[in-house]
Amino acid sequence: MTKITGIGASSKRREDKRFLTGKGRYVDDMNRPGQAHVHFLRSDMAHGRIVSLDVSAAEAAPGVIKVFTAKDFEGVGGIPCGWLITDRHGQPMKEPKHPILAEGKVRHVGDPIVAVVAETRAQAKDAAELVELELEELPAAIDMRAAVAGGPQVHDEAPDNLCYDWDFPAESKDAVDEAIRNAHHVTVLELRNNRLVANPMEPRAALGEYDDADDMHTLWTTSQNPHVIRLLMGAFVLGLPEHKLRVVAPDVGGGFGSKIYHYAEEAFVTFAAKVVNRPVKWTSDRAEAFMSDAHGRDHVCKVELAMDAEGHFLALRSTTLANMGAYLSTFAPCIPTWLHGTLLAGNYKTPLIFTNVRAVFTNTVPVDAYRGAGRPEATYLIERVVDKAAREIGMDPAELRRRNFITQFPYQTPVAVEYDSGDYNATLDKVLQVADRAGFEARRAESAARGKLRGFGLAHYIEACGIAPSSLVGALGARAGLYEAATVRVNPTGSVSVFTGSHSHGQGHETTFAQVVADRLGIEEGAVDIVHGDTSKVPFGMGTYGSRSLAVGGSAIVKSVDKIVAKAKKIAAHLLEASEADIAFEDGKFSVSGTDRSVAWAEVCLAAYVPHNYPLDAIEPGLEETSFYDPANFTYPSGAYVCEVEVDPDTGKVQVMSFAAADDFGNVVNPMIVEGQVHGGLAQGIGQALMEGCVYDESGQLLTASYMDYAMPLARDLPSFTVDNSACTPCTHNPLGVKGCGEAGAIGSPPALVNAVLDALSPYGIAHLDMPLTPSKVWEAIDAARPAAAAE
């Protein structure tokens, strides 16, 4: 039976009322009395030396309050990195300073050099035009292969532009090499995971304010994790203690990873607000976002898969160059390592795995996590090479996968992680059923009759979500714990306010979390309010990323609710003059087992706050509990995706005809929201596979800095998705049995789509094409293959 409330119900998203009626409150909607505006003068060169810088004319311009340069930030820290990678020689990664404003050199187009604070945004922009800046252009390191082979140096302290050279697992290298040397068949594939720009609907913004009466700093910012920003900016950049720094992330219009990180503009407005003693506001425009938001992906890889004569995987080896951009963004170093290398088993019992990852500095915008973060790169690499292997040995791609699936859980992979649960055959069966695999040949013939090439593409994925056990990530170099915090405050008349560290910026937490709490307390969802995004209200939080909110943040809430129920039972036992052990709590009612005596939830809550008849000698008044939940393991959502495409051989245009997803997210709290999350992820993954791609020219100019040149998927580019999550194996180690669903669509869809296109192009013998599969790229491949195909 379909549930209408609580866990399992498709409750309507309560936050949508304000979003759909224009009542969302975003940072740019905030305006403080006396507010000034900042405009950043950014480098238009990829690499250059600042020869001279004269801001006197800008300072004298109308409306200008102060012009800041690097000199104003002497004694202020650089933007810190949150993760330390130790390289294969046991050395720490290279971690060059990332100043708030460029010091001596600029290192990417968009690197901020001067900040003009003025009465209005227009005056700040006009004054920036008056800055006399002479840059000596230096050769730029753009292409990663050239950058590590004696290319121009981005940072003097990072020879060959290497941030680190990482082997994993180092001890497996020789065994993997030998297995590949001796294998019956080895499939080799070189590929590129294209560089992406996250493009949340709301560009970044930041507003800083300083109150000298109580020495209090406030920063309103577009962040997925305000407490993390408070920690990074307060402790490492500006030297402000937590109690004097409030960070608020109000409604945020999408993040997809790009709003996890601490950015220079946030530190700038916080710092400048005190210097000029005025609130200072910055709102990015779209072109500025393209050259200052952290980009995603950008891996160049080679992968080899060794098999025996029956198609059993024996070993997998990969080498990857991962772009870091010009400076290390907050989580950048861990994306191609611990979020990528540890996923290289995929869904398969490959016994031997080894990877080498070199992280490379280039004169481009910093690169960091983007929806999936390392796991899409791993999934793409595995699922492409498995598909290519199936073609090479003439086996059905689904059969080759089945032959190698992990089927026993828990499963210890050879790449450190242990999968707790999953059923990969079940998701494969489900997806082949909902995608109507049996009817494909008829559809292919029908397409062929219209002169079109139809292709069927399959991909599996596994993720490590619910990030992450603190002791584990600490051992791997994280400079923070990755638990989550929640306070559940029961108000005197029984309504509930939940304060969670999991920020919501599109995920629907305000609805989902309320469903969980209401379900466990047996009260109306409407009696539960979710508060997030303000360090002055929420006790602590590590934020929203890595599909962790329900698995980790939700678990913290459940822990607090359980504590509340335990205490409420004591109060109920007192009110009912019964033993606590005899009190049962169900449907919002405390009753004495085996009797008809009961007391309602609201009565217990009132008693807690009006403790006239109350066991004051045993427990305190009030009903409020705070919990920190540190997960025991990652969660491992998995799934099987099928994409069907039609390729027009005359134009190279790829049309996605259908897309079916069978996901295992563990238990599902709100099926509608989960389906929406999958839809969004699929749209982004299809965007990556078909059209998105960030392009730099050889001198480091960003050629895709607007929607004229950076193609985003539109509704017309996408089919109506079929999404199923009935093949469910609950997570075994968190109280809700949930795994996380936010990134899956973006992780599993690119390989499914590319596999489908290559299936369509199989008559031409095209073994691989790099994303994005634009019409010109597909057409050129067909055109180049035509003579060969005709000769056969």
Partner: protein, 196 residues
């Protein structure tokens, strides 16, 4: 990208060379040039207003002459800063030689942009550079031959039809060089072909 082209100018080499070194002539011929001042024999300061795609800007910068070989040619290079629009850099290697009808001027030009110009207008740069080079040498030819009206306003310049002797349209470097056009086989611009 590189553009190459040539023109036959009905004037002797000394006259053409003198014009190539005359700031007034150059000012009149650089499309959108509002100011050009000579700082030394080989350096000039210029202000040029140009529009590339959606980006319009005033570029301030220097024009430098290098590899100067009197009456034979030079390398003219310019670098302009357009404020928020970014920057543009370009150069043209110009060579002169005698020709039965006067002087043969050949050029190889290139252009590069940065900042907002690259972000919003990069796909237009090739066409833009071609147009700039074509305009410059058409105006230059007209100036030297004295047959031209006063330099047209910038927007009209694109439409100016140098009513002059054999002109070859610039070609992409690497293309097979066309034989030097005889007057009767003159290649015409698209507008002239339409009109003729």
């Amino acid at each position: 990208m590189e553009l190459t082209g040539e023109r036959i100018i009905r004037a002797d080499r000394a006259t053409v060379w003198a014009a190539l070194n005359d700031p007034e002539v150059l000012r009149a011929c650089i499309p959108g040039c509002e100011r050009l001042e000579k700082l030394s024999e080989t350096e000039m300061e210029a202000e040029v207003t140009q529009k590339v795609g959606p980006v319009k800007a005033k570029f301030k910068g220097n024009v430098t002459l290098e590899d100067v070989r009197p009456a034979e040619g030079y390398l003219l290079s310019g670098e302009g800063k357009g404020g928020a629009a970014g920057f543009a850099k370009g150069g043209a290697r110009v060579a002169l030689e005698d020709h039965p009808d006067g002087t043969r001027l050949t050029y190889t030009a290139e252009a590069r942009v940065g900042g907002k110009l690259a972000q919003l207008g990069s796909r237009l740069i090739d066409g833009f550079a071609r147009k700039m080079a074509d305009e410059f040498f058409a105006l230059f030819q007209a100036q030297v031959e004295g047959a031209a009206p006063p330099p047209p306003a910038r927007d009209e310049a694109a439409w100016a039809l140098p009513d002059a002797a054999p002109a070859r349209e610039p070609e992409m470097a690497g293309a097979t060089p066309a034989p030097a056009p005889a007057p009767d086989r003159e290649k015409k611009g698209w507008l002239r072909r339409l009109l003729s």
